[in-house]
Amino acid sequence: MTLQRHKYDVLVIGAGGAGLRAAVEAREAGLSVAIICKSLFGKAHTVMAEGGAAASMGNVNDNDNWMVHFRDTMRGGKFLNHYRMAELHAKEAPDRIWELETWGALFDRTKEGKISQRNFGGHEYPRLAHVGDRTGLELIRTMQQKIVQLQQKDGREFGDMESKIKVFAECTITEILKENGKIAGAYGYWRETGEEILFEAPAVVIATGGVGKTFKITSNSWEGTGDGHALALKAGANLVDMEFLQFHPTGMVWPPSVRGILVTESVRGEGGILTNSEGERFMFKYIPDVFKDKYADNEAEADRWYEDQDNNRRPPELLPRDEVARAINSEVKAGRGTEHGGVFLDVSKRIPAEVIKKRLPSMWHQFYELAGVDITKEAMEVGPTCHYVMGGVEVEPDSAAAVGVPGLFAAGEVAGGMHGSNRLGGNSLTDLLVFGRRAGAGAAEYVKKSGANPVSDSTIKAAADRIEAPFSREGGENSYSLHAELQEVTHNLVGIIRIRSEIEEAIAKIADIRARSKNVAVSGGRKFNPGFHLAFDLDNMLLVAESTAKSALLREESRGGHTRDDFPGMNNKWRQVNHIASFDGNQVNIKAQQLPMLPKELFDLFDVHELEKYMTPEEIAKGGSN
């Protein structure tokens, strides 16, 4: 079998929003581009985004502008964001949305015929451009069709539509290749045939999305296995902020057909109550002191609130997300959870069926159609679900270049820094566009300066041997069982609520699974063999889990998507520090790195009293870095 070889200027790994936007930019800069897609073209996880894309166009409220958006983003991230990324994102998001419209996107409209914008948590003004509840699909299709448009143009000019930009669907990259310390290409296999494939390219853009499949309960699809995170680590890049993961408190835990799917907060807002396996409405036990005057401490008052909100305190089911998640987690750990590790969320006993169907139509429909669960008649089983990873490849904000690896770029969920410790809803879709474009431009500029960097035969052989290995072992470990074991460890020990002893236990267990994973054997042939595919995905997830656990152990505070039961508060000293994960070939090592301080012009956008919540008096006294 001869090895398939391809030469391109830029190789984009990942065909979600960020990857496609990067590909368009690099092609428009005159370069040849290969797009690698783990599944079929157009199926990326971006299609799952429902809410919208945040951009301060000011179409609905003209008080909105980039500075307000910037402030909201920094607040949401609890000031751990890289300020420059948040700044670029806020400034460029409107242009990226309008640009999509010139490519044929059809967003919902305002009465004046402009792009409509909706409210969303954490955003001061209505800011999310949307298309019903399928905004992500609209982004993907628009860019997919933009790529076809570029291909048609190339067809007219060069006689072959795929001469300058080609999509390699159902192809997995197992290794990023370097020569002389710089990017030289990538190696992988076709999922359909198992045949190996080599890409020679002096620039690689990683746009592989998230890591949700590392956890047991997740809203992510099978593709969210942290491939790009691991590929970058192994190529010598760093991961930043890997302790920060966004969990939603109420994801479905049972039945399996809907496991991980989010149950919107409005179910609780409409009167849904949380109970444990003993039938106790447990949230009353978990009202923190600071909320005592706002939340009812007895059922009678909580029930009255739905009718009379002026004279009663709110039911404790409506506490902030992290409080609800903490409470559910405590009940399950105390042995009062459901058979499947969740608690009950019941809206059926309080509200008549026809009212539920009217107020929560899509929820009712979704669970009825996907799982046969009728929420007007029975309780749901819910628990925290892993939704998004804030951490990712450490990049230079302006070019999206990975720190420390010439020729490597990263954009979208796989890149770190933009969202700090917690992402605002709606910011991910514009993150894809803004930094996808910047990564494409950064890669193009790099290639024009650096030129080709051929791959050596010895590098190819090493990559090929690694793919062959699981087939040559006999009677080794099963990749499906190891994956399930890893998911149990991460979910139970470095999930939504963390504590030193458990994180330490997780680190030891992950190391053990990793040792055993070296012995994974694959049955069957190479042709479209999911067991073989999982063997490689598993390796990636193990590196991600190790980075997360080790970063989480060091951060002795609670902030955004990192909650330590043994260090419950936010600590301003920790705000000055990012954790940087790197890989030495054997294990992941973490070092603390100083976060760059806001320059004065951005510092001055905030009220000093607000900054006092996040910064030390010395930082405030300096008033910005310049």
């Binding site: 057909s257 099963n478 999911p530």
Partner: protein
């Protein structure tokens, strides 16, 4: 709660294959894709199946379940009788790769043949103004998740391999309709090329595509029939036919 389900799965590749019977646990509320995953994890580690979102939004897990084109993630086991054997087979209109996975590249080739959207040059980014009611017509077609069930069920290609060359299929008729109804698209003659280059005329409106669409897009009524009617108006309007002799039509 678990019970045993009799599942019959087509296994094989382009050269050879057949139905294999397995018994597998099934729990309350599970969909067919859950059961296939259980078979994969416990009995057939190399069973090939496509899937992504498992929430009916990506259109990857298209297959034929008891002969009907369906998404496996949206088909509940409970919708069959308890003692019924569920048979899962690959999409019939496309070449088999392995087990439940077929080669759907036909669809991506057709996508490349549909002329792209053309934006009015005089409209700078951000200047476009459109009424909600005008964008909604195209938005219906943009809901398409590209599961290709409509393509698979359409008998113009399902039973006639030779038609594939000249027939784009329902998925791409709604793509053309979407662009044709787009308030800003500048490209002319989309309906005419639908008829002359993409095989619109071969569709005889049996509505099979509409029936299998998991997004409930009214493919036939809202896209195909309106385009066919306009094509008839254009091609067989006596006044236009006369004018057409004098001057080739600029737009339809």
């Amino acid at each position: 709660m678990a019970r045993k389900l009799n599942l019959r799965i087509w296994r094989g590749d382009a050269t050879d294959g057949g139905l294999k019977d397995v018994q597998v646990d099934v729990n309350e509320g599970e969909v067919v894709l859950d059961v296939i995953h259980r078979v994969q994890a416990t009995q057939m580690g190399d069973l090939a199946v496509r899937w992504n979102c498992k929430a009916g939004k990506c259109g990857s897990c298209s297959m034929e379940i008891n002969g009907k084109p369906r998404l496996a993630c949206m088909t509940q086991v409970a919708s069959f009788d308890e003692d019924e054997t569920i048979t899962v087979t690959p999409l019939r209109a496309f070449p088999i790769i392995k087990d439940l996975v077929t080669d759907v590249s036909f669809n991506y080739k057709k996508a490349m043949e549909i002329p792209a959207y053309e934006h009015p040059q005089e409209l700078a980014p951000g200047e476009a103004r459109m009424e909600q009611i005008d964008v909604e017509r195209s938005q219906e077609f943009r809901k398409c998740i590209e599961c290709f069930l409509c393509q698979n069920t359409c008998h113009v290609i399902r039973d006639h391999e030779e038609n594939k060359k000249s027939f784009a299929g329902p998925r791409f008729f709604i793509r053309i309709a979407e662009l044709d109804m787009h308030p800003l698209d500048k490209l002319k003659n989309r309906k005419r090329t639908a008829q002359e280059e993409h095989g619109l005329g071969m569709c005889n409106i049996t509505k099979c595509c509409t029936e299998v669409c998991p997004e409930h897009i009214r493919i036939t009524d809202n896209a195909i029939i309106p385009m066919k009617e306009r094509v008839v108006d254009i091609k067989y309007d006596p006044a236009r036919m006369f004018a057409g002799l004098l001057k080739r039509e600029k737009r339809d």
